[in-house]
């Protein structure tokens, strides 16, 4: 369903609930995977996704149509995920100056909801060596298939900056994979 129609229905008190149900059907899986790939753990992603859509529900009436709806939802999801990981680092006594979340590498094998092969596991470990924001850009480009201008609208970073970040990320991963073969 078109986002403009969802917003129109949400603006009407009588069709608000129906509109939110439609929004969930359209975006909940995309947002879940976006969050899951960043925080890795299913339970953490589950909690975060609920918090994210609760914020969407509470603030959708204030959403200005000068941005795309999915861009707005992705932005909330990205910010919540980064904040969550920073809190987790603080709880684990990991310095916030460490830009990456390499300390999460062990949890990859501990989680019961990772059934990837060795290559996929290595890719995830390679990604954890990247700074968190660079990892976020990589995930959005590589797995979510978003365009650079869409990622730019979500993160507020220039297209040129995003391209440079992504190119560098791909090179680092290639190097990591070749060195750990």
């Amino acid at each position: 369903m078109d986002d403009a129609l969802i917003l129109e229905k949400f603006a009407n008190e009588k069709t608000r609930d129906e509109a939110f149900g439609l929004l969930l059907e359209k975006y909940q899986q995309k947002i879940y995977w976006h969050v899951r790939r960043f925080v890795l753990d299913h339970e953490d992603a589950n909690d975060l996704v609920q918090d994210i859509f609760l914020k969407v529900w509470k603030n959708l009436d204030k959403f200005r149509a000068d941005a795309q709806l999915y861009t707005w939802i992705y932005r909330i999801a990205s910010n919540e995920s980064i904040t969550f990981l920073n809190r987790k680092k603080h709880a684990a006594n990991v310095s916030l100056d460490d830009e990456n979340s390499s300390y999460l590498a062990d949890s990859l094998t501990e989680t019961s909801y990772f059934n990837g092969d060795q290559a996929q596991l290595k890719l995830q470990k390679a990604l954890l060596t990247l700074p968190d924001k660079q990892r976020l850009v990589f995930n959005m480009k590589y797995f979510d298939d978003l365009k650079y201008d869409e990622i730019s609208a979500i993160l507020g970073t220039s297209v040129g900056g995003l391209k440079a970040s992504y190119h560098l990320a791909v090179k680092k991963i290639e190097k990591f994979l070749s060195e750990t073969d």
Binding site: W33, R36, H42, F53, Y113, G116, Q120, Y166
Partner: protein
């Protein structure tokens, strides 16, 4: 020709193409992330989120307004009654009782107090009272007869 390109375009184009080639090589080997979810998870997720959002919205709407209006009126009446009772019911304490007595004594005429004390005082009190009295407070010598004086003397001993 007339067409132009952004500055550094050729360099950027080269980098873009090389990055695309590396990405495709990687995707040829690893296209998925390897993560999974419990069976039926997304159906449950939608229901959970709807309960926390739409469900709460409906709970708020179902609350009857008439009952809450009457509750406010009833509460206001109780508060008013309690305030009125507190305002007009004096609190009696020892100190207040003493002050009340003191006020009462203040309105008793001095002559009555003197008469009371002279008739009901202890032996030593009479001398004290006599010393405290002015020389002729009531101008007794001129206004009392001998019989009255005699009566007085008989009662005070």
């Amino acid at each position: 020709m007339g067409f132009t390109t952004p500055s550094n375009y050729q360099e950027e184009l080269t980098n873009d193409i090389l990055a695309k080639v590396s990405e495709d090589k990687l995707k040829a080997v690893i296209s998925k992330d390897g993560f999974s979810v419990p069976e039926g998870y997304f159906a449950d997720l939608q229901a959970t989120i709807e309960e926390q959002t739409i469900g709460q919205h409906k709970v708020v709407k179902l609350r009857p307004t008439r009952t809450s209006w009457m509750s406010y009126v009833a509460a206001a009446c109780v508060i008013l009654a309690a305030s009125t009772f507190a305002l007009f019911t004096p609190t009696i304490t020892n100190e207040s009782a003493i002050a009340y007595e003191e006020v009462n004594i203040d309105v008793v005429p001095t002559e009555e107090i003197i008469s009371y004390l002279t008739f009901y005082s202890e032996t030593g009190d009479l001398n004290e009272l006599v010393e405290q009295l002015p020389e002729d407070p009531l101008n007794l010598t001129d206004s009392f007869s001998s019989e009255e004086i005699q009566l007085y003397l008989e009662n005070s001993i």
